[in-house]
Symmetry: C2
Subunit: 223 residues, 2 copies
Amino acid sequence: MPNQVIDAYPKLKRDIIRGIYVPGEKLLMSQLKSRYGCGVGPLREALTRLIGEHLVTGISQRGYRVASMSIAELDAIYDARAELESLLIRLAIERGDDEWEAAVLARAHTLGKVDRVQDGEEMLERWDTRHQALHDAMVAGCHCQPLLQSRAALFDQAQRYRHLWLRQTVFSEQALADKQREHQALLDTILARDARAASQLMREHLMTPVPIIRERLQEQDWI
Amino acid sequence: MPNQVIDAYPKLKRDIIRGIYVPGEKLLMSQLKSRYGCGVGPLREALTRLIGEHLVTGISQRGYRVASMSIAELDAIYDARAELESLLIRLAIERGDDEWEAAVLARAHTLGKVDRVQDGEEMLERWDTRHQALHDAMVAGCHCQPLLQSRAALFDQAQRYRHLWLRQTVFSEQALADKQREHQALLDTILARDARAASQLMREHLMTPVPIIRERLQEQDWI
DNA sequence: CATCACATTATTTTCGAAAGATTAGTGCGT
DNA sequence: ACGCACTAATCTTTCGAAAATAATGTGATG
């Protein structure tokens, strides 16, 4: 694997997820070259990787475009994530050991400690990091690397949509409290080793952002 | 997307799956260039794609290698496939319509018609094609593109292992009959819309090749 | 005999230019 | 005014050479 690509790939990915580019927008090599400071070779490799993650589309002799977004795709991806994560939490409860339980508890604790008094941006970043860490810890118990990789791939695909939801949630006292309650309920079912209840709660938990994202999406002029 | 890559990528992938290269083998650019008749640019893109599919590994400044194979990975991938396909058949039964049922029945019918009298290689290819078509038809009812893509990715990862099993099974009267019986049982539960039974059978069905593959794997000198 | 420094070779990675394809623009004929 | 062929400009894709890095071999030293 390359050197220059290691630089360009994460930057390009980040820019696409953050919405720097409009979905469907053409990605001109000349522009990318100056923006990311490297030649076409490394760029093509980075773009190839992003095609694999469904964040970019490419047509022979017609270049690359930022993958489009749609409500249909939003529904499909979140449905997939909810079903998969629901499966994973069931497996984790069936397979996880005491260490796993302890790790979940630990992540739940740190997430609960994120302080609302901090600077907004900093808090958003910290809450999101710890939130993801909690969910990672929960499903880690399944001990199935390939399924965890599939989960990560779906998460990446969802990130652009998720981005529309994150701000809205973290900056709302109400939404944050709701999430807190959902996490607590999940944690209870996990510690009780109730696989059926946990997978049900997990599915619902993952689906709650969808209506919010759908609204934000309909506001966009590029849909 | 490129032109030359469209040539090189599937060939390289096919060669890796067919076991032309030894797992762990270094992929020299100079060799690849002459074998696939193109420059390093297209090759690097093809290899990047294959890294995304976990068929190749790459380290900065140290080139590319065919991904290694191991019994641990065999177990992990087949476990993942079994759990995912089991989930998908449940969803398909919950969501599939009459057309879906009909399509499954049709694929089961054509698979049953594969004739043993044909030429061996031709029969193997035909059986495998129709076998995959049956499984594709079964899970298609879930109507969840992202999960079907995850399934396809896991299938690709499994292909090298699956390759070790396929010959053994198709050329054994006994094994083929066993598979036939399993498919019939699956079909019955599907037409009866018994999601619980179907997902159980599906998990078992996907796991049956594992012991056979494990044996073949242990015979290899490169494990 | 082992080990380290140094020089040599082999390999990867990158860039720039040329070739190939597509898109945009122009003018002609109807 | 509209469509079509042709030309010009733009963009993508590829290759070959050069630069950067790693691997190998050699010889001196403890």
